[in-house]
Every structure is written in C-alpha cells, then in structure tokens.
C-alpha cells in the first residue's frame, strides 16, 4: 500500500507536468519581423480612422474590449497571439481597456463569452471559426454588445446584426509565395502541407497552386504541386513525416498552412537542406537558412482596424470585413536574401498586379479550375 502511494505520487507528478506543459506556451520574442512590417502597414491602413479616434480619444479609455481565445490559448504562436498583440497595441496607442479569457475546451466558449459580457465589454472578439456558433448565440442574448469573429464571415441566417465577420484573402499572399516557389524551384516539383481541410485552408492551397502555375507559365516549364493534409493543426511529427516524404520524392520547396504541424515541416526542410515557406507570421526565426519566405496573414492589423472603427462609433455589425493586400493585412516579409533581389522584385510586381485587380487569385477549387483557363 505504501508502495502504491509512492507510485501514485510519482505518476501524478508526471501527469501534472504533462498536462501543464500541454497548455503552456513559449516566449513571444518571435514576432519581430512580422511585427515591424505590420506596424507600418497598420498605421497606413488606419490613417482614415485616426481623425475619428482623436475626436473620441476620451471615449477610448472607457471602451472595454474583451477577447475570447479558442482552445489554442493566447500563446499559440498564431492567430490568438496575433489578435492579442493587436489589442495590446490598441491599449498602448489609445488606451483602450483590453483583456482576454482563455478557452481550454470547446465547451468553454459559451461560458467565456458570457463572462466577457458580464464585464460590461462593448466589443467582444472571438478568435477562430470554431467559435462561430457560440458567437451567434451570445450575440442574440446580448443585443447591446458588439461581437466580432476572426476567420469567419457574417452569416445573416445564423447571426444577429451585432456580429461582425473578419476574413482574410489568404489566397493573395499564398499566390505570391507560390509564385516565388515556382521561380525558385530547381526540380520542378513543390509541395503543400495543409492542416484540416476547410474553406480557410482552401484559400491557401489554391492560391498557392495558382501562383506556382503563374510562375510556370512565365518560365515556360512544367511545375507540379504535391498537396497533402496532416488532418491536424498541432501534430508536428506528422508534418515532419509528410515533408520528409515530399523532399525525398523530389520536391525542393514545401509551403505549409497547418499551424503547429508546420514546425515539423520547417524542421524537415532544415534537416534535408531544402526550403520551407512559413505561414501567418514571418517564420524565418525557426530556420533562418531554410525558410524561403512566409505568407503573412496579419490578424492583429485587422483586429486593430475593426476595433478602432467600433471605438469611433461606426456601425460595424451585420457585415464582413475582408482584409488583403490592398489593406496591407497580408503579404510577404521584406527579408529576401534566400530568394535574391530579382525574384523578390518580380514578386512585388505580382503583388501590385493583385492590388490593381489584374490577377485575382483563386480561393477554392472551382475558381482554381477557371483560373487555369
């Protein structure tokens, strides 16, 4: 019995350690490059509303904004963290009252949104499309509070008028990195690793494929894209395995849109001495010699922008704000020593063409089929 107790203590300690490390996150030092580009772009994109905010500057201090994370937590190195950075910027720049509530399980969404409402928040952010249903319900129960959701459009059928959708045209940076991959590949074969199939990840996959095709047409050669899914957003080992098999079958560049899975993809590129392309934020810090570029999706710029609109008293509900290259909320990092100036400048030209509407990157399979023609 005594032995049992000892064993119990040891195992329990192990279990606690495991469970805690599971929810813990790592440092935030990583955001450097992505942030610096974002800083300038956010400033540019919000110039219009700055006049409005200065007149309502006194209001901003009392303006309570709460954010509810999805199960990734606030240190997820991805959109939760980025959104929180956006709100912290707001606190610094105009003194808004911001805070967050972390969700540990999916069943926490409803109670956490309710708690945020109890705090007398005027604007509540839900991060991630998994929260769409809960946001719709919470908004119905609290018609006086504005709700906004990242990565999910406003849907008049399931959501009341006080919900705002925030979407990104992720196909645009994906198209640009696809173009860069097409220009850079030597083997004529590149890879794509997705997380779990959904409309959001489709934007990345088909934007990327179209970008590769565009480069192939320009170079008058054939480039194939090998696309695979990890069925996870967290399994780094699986990402590594998929990327390894892609590299050994002849791919020399792999782009990922798979959250934590991508850490494994980048690791595999580092081991094989090949290239990986990062996503959401500038992931060059993970392997400076192997991350060719990153498809930036600057969630914090959008969060700041929409929040400022709300603070300025503009009506934001019942619609979807879409952010892309023209809003400077997506793009590629300025660091480009791995691809060289020629490719980088060509990529910037492609960006200009997307901005002017000459190229419309496809966001799903059907548009992609049309794009080829």
């Amino acid at each position: 019995m005594k032995k049992m107790r000892k064993l119990l203590a040891v195992v329990l300690a192990g279990a606690m350690a495991a469970s805690m490390s599971a929810c813990g996150g790592t440092g935030t030092a990583s955001s450097s490059a992505a942030n610096s580009t974002a800083g300038s772009s956010a400033a540019a994109s919000t110039e219009g509303s700055s006049a409005a905010t200065s007149t309502t500057g006194t209001n901003a201090k009392n303006f309570k904004i709460r954010m509810v994370t999805d199960t990734g937590g606030v240190n997820d190195q991805s959109f939760n963290q980025s959104s929180w950075e956006g709100l912290q910027n707001l606190k610094k720049s105009i003194g808004a009252d911001v805070n967050y509530v972390e969700s540990k399980q999916e069943s926490d969404y409803a109670t956490n949104l309710d708690k945020a409402a109890d705090d007398d928040a005027k604007l509540i952010w839900g991060i991630g499309f998994a929260m769409a249903e809960s946001i719709g319900k919470a908004a119905k129960a609290n018609p006086d509070i504005a709700y906004a959701i990242v990565d999910n459009g406003y849907d008049a059928k399931t959501m009341p008028k006080n919900v705002t959708g925030v979407m990104f045209r992720a196909q645009e940076p994906s198209f640009v990195v696809g173009y860069i991959a097409g220009k850079t590949t030597k083997t004529g074969k590149v890879g794509f690793v997705g997380g779990i199939k959904s409309n959001i990840i489709d934007q990345f996959e088909y934007g990327y494929k179209a970008g590769v095709d565009y480069a192939a047409k320009e170079l008058k050669k054939k480039i194939t894209v090998d696309a695979q899914y990890a069925e996870s957003f967290s399994d780094a080992a699986k990402g590594k395995a998929i990327a390894n098999s892609m590299f050994s079958s002849g791919c020399d560049i792999v782009f990922h849109a798979a959250g934590g899975v991508g850490v494994g993809v980048i690791q595999a590129a580092k081991d094989a001495g090949k290239y990986a392309i990062g996503v959401d934020r500038d992931q060059a810090y993970l392997a400076p010699k192997n991350v060719l570029t990153s498809a930036l999706k600057l969630v914090h710029a959008a969060v700041e922008d929409v929040s400022k609109k709300a603070i300025a008293g503009k009506s934001i509900g019942g619609q979807t704000f879409t952010y892309g290259l023209t809003e400077d909320a997506v793009g590629i990092p300025t660091e480009h020593k791995l691809m060289g100036d020629a490719t980088y400048n060509a990529a910037l030209k492609v960006e200009e063409q997307i901005k002017s509407g000459k190229i419309v990157p496809p966001a799903n399979k059907d548009d992609y089929a049309k794009f080829g023609k």
Binding site: M4, L8, Y100, A130
Partner: protein
C-alpha cells in the same frame, strides 16, 4: 494536546491543511509576480459565488471530474491505479457522440441509450487494462497510459472521418437534440418558458446562460452507489480485501483476478459516464479534434487524491476543483494575472496532499510527548 492529536489524525484535517498551504503558496507566487494576492483571491471567489449562474457553471464544470475522480478512487481502493481514466473518458465521449448522432429516438429511449453507449465504451477500455493485469500481470499504469494515447488518436480519427466530420469545423456532428440532459431544454427557450421565468432574474440567468443539467445529480448518485458497493456489500468487502493485501485475499479464497477485471470494468464505466453526461448535458454536444489531452481524466486523479480516495469526498473535492478551474479564469480576466497561477495553486494543493502522510506522524509524536509530560 490529545485533542490536537486526535484532530490531526483525521484525514480531513490534512486535506484542509494542504488546501490552506496551496493558497498560501499561490499568494506568495502572486505577490512575487507583482499582483495583490488579496484582490486575486477576491476575484477568484467572486468568480465562483457572485452570481447564481457562476455557481451553476462551477457545478457543470465539476460534474465530469467528480465522476472520473470516482473512477480513480474506486480502483485505488482495490489497489489499482487507474491513470487510464483519461482514455476511458475519451472513448466514452466518442461512443456517446456516435450513438447520439446516428440514433434519433424519443428522449426516454435516446438518453439512456447514449449514456449506456458511453459507459460500455469506457468499461471496455478499462476492462482491457483489467484483463491484461489479471491474465498476464502487466502493470495497469503502463497499459492504461498506452490506451490513453490510442483513445486520443482514435477520437481524432473518428472526428476527421468522412461519416462524422462536420465540414468547415474542427469537430464531429453534434448529437441529436433528443439526447439532451439539460433541465427542460425545449421549454426554457419557448415563449411560455420565457414568460414564466421573466419575473425571476437569477432563474433566467441560470437556465438560459448556463447548460444547467442533471449530470451532477447522477454524479452524486454514482458516488453513493460506489460507497454502498465498497462498504455495505459482500462484494465490496472482497474488493477492499484485494486492495489491502491481494495475497492474503487470495489465501482467504477471494478470486483476485476476477475482482481486478470487475473493478476496471466499473472504473471504466464511471469515466465513460462522465463523458456521456458531458456530451448530452453541455454545449457543443460533440467531440472535436484534440490537440492535447483535455485533462478530464487527469484532473480526476488530482480530485481523487484530494478526496483521499473517499467516494463521498470526491463530490466535495470535485466541486472545489471545478470552482478553482472556473473561478481561476476570473483572476486572469479581472486583475490580469496569468491563468497559470491557478494551475500552480492546484499543483501545490495536490503536492501538499501528497505530503500529508506527515500529519498523522506528527500526531503520533504529539501523543508521545503528551504521555511523557504526563509522567
């Protein structure tokens, strides 16, 4: 002196000392991190008690961990360490979700069916562990840790399978509404229900803003049942004998191996019950892709330990733990202290409970000193 010794010998005393020490350490950590411990604990308690709906949420949060704790505590009484409650919970949730989604009978049939599915799956998962231990003597800790991971990936496999995956989400299809175990799920959102509740604000808050459900009542019933089984039945006497010394039990003619299998079946069923009640009783009524263990089973270990593996104690320890988990978020939301603080506090409490073996020894020493002084 003798009185102090007597109080110290009671198991509840050491638990309370452990909890007080846990709060003390958390206060030190908070102070070092630059937060006022007083306002932090104020936020914690107001996050638990200040509104009726918060209390309701604590009870909802406490339901699954009370049942998984019961699973662990029951197995522990028979000398088995059920670290596999986590995996048993996961397979229970998968089975309940699948059955609740595929079948759509009237609630009187549907609810027992879904709950039974969860219990059977959990029992099966626990039974494998028991069988391997009884037949081949493989240690239950090893097998159940492995089965936890198998359950984890099995759950993700089901969530992502074409048959159950809800497109554009990270989750499976939810169960049918006929399997809901909330209090009057249809009436409360109907016009008649709204009208009846409009007068009492707290009732409206509890009913509409929380998933108040029958789960905790079932958890209490299960705790009483396990207590009766252990202490008021012949079978329970056998089981406890196996737990105390299984060689002696075998010598006394008690079928040890059979009892080990039975124990693990029941323990697994309890964890499965926890999962089924969570699926039927709380939003979003479905399983979703797991990126890490949700700790429903592992938290049960801590709760069982705080309760000193007493079945009835699990109810109170479960409520304490549920309160810390739910109220702990208010510390973050109100004063900005990281929610990790609450994890440190929980860890410290469990740590001190592990140390409480010291307390009865202290009592013995006090007694001795008392006797010496008397002479």
């Amino acid at each position: 002196m003798e009185k102090t010794a007597k109080i110290l010998k009671k198991p509840i005393t050491s638990t309370i000392i452990a909890i007080v020490c846990g709060f003390a350490v958390a206060a030190i950590v908070l102070a070092v991190a630059g937060y006022n411990p007083g306002s932090a604990f104020g936020a914690l308690f107001s996050g638990i008690f200040s509104r009726p709906k918060y209390i309701s949420n604590v009870i909802i949060k406490a339901t699954p961990i009370t049942l998984t704790a019961l699973s662990v505590a029951f197995a522990y009484k028979v000398g088995l360490f059920n670290i596999g409650a986590e995996g048993q919970y996961i397979v229970g949730a998968v089975a309940a979700n699948i059955v609740g989604y595929l079948c759509n009978f009237p609630p009187v049939i549907e609810i027992p069916l879904v709950i039974l599915a969860g219990m059977v799956a959990g029992a099966l998962w626990g039974g494998i562990v028991g069988l391997l231990k009884a037949k081949f003597g493989i240690h239950e800790v090893l097998t159940s840790i492995m089965l936890n991971w198998i359950a984890f990936y099995f759950s993700n496999l089901v969530v992502n399978s074409a048959a159950f995956h809800q497109p554009n989400s990270t989750a499976a299809y939810p169960v049918n509404a006929s399997s809901y175990t909330m209090l009057l799920p249809n009436w409360k959102t109907s016009d008649a229900g709204m009208a009846a509740m409009s007068g009492t604000k707290w009732l409206r808050e509890v009913m509409l803003k929380t998933d108040v459900n029958f789960g905790f009542l079932i958890a209490i019933a299960a705790a009483v049942f396990i207590w009766m089984l252990l202490y008021r039945s012949r079978k329970g006497y056998e089981l406890r004998a196996v737990g105390l010394n299984h060689d002696a039990a075998e010598f006394a003619g008690i079928p040890v191996n059979k009892n080990i299998v039975i124990t693990m079946l029941i323990a697994g069923a309890l964890a499965g019950l926890a999962a089924a009640l969570a699926i039927t009783g709380t939003n979003p009524h479905r399983i979703s892709t797991l990126s890490a263990f949700e700790n429903n089973g592992f938290n049960g270990l801590s709760v069982a330990f705080i309760a000193g593996s007493s079945p009835i104690g699990c109810i109170f320890a479960g409520l304490l733990f549920g309160g810390l988990l739910y109220g702990g978020q208010s510390i973050q939301a109100n004063i900005g202290a990281p929610s990790e603080i609450i994890n440190i506090m929980i860890g410290t409490i469990v740590f001190f409970v592990a140390l409480t073996a010291v307390v009865p020894k202290l009592a013995v020493r006090l007694e001795k000193r008392g006797m010496r002084n008397a002479k």
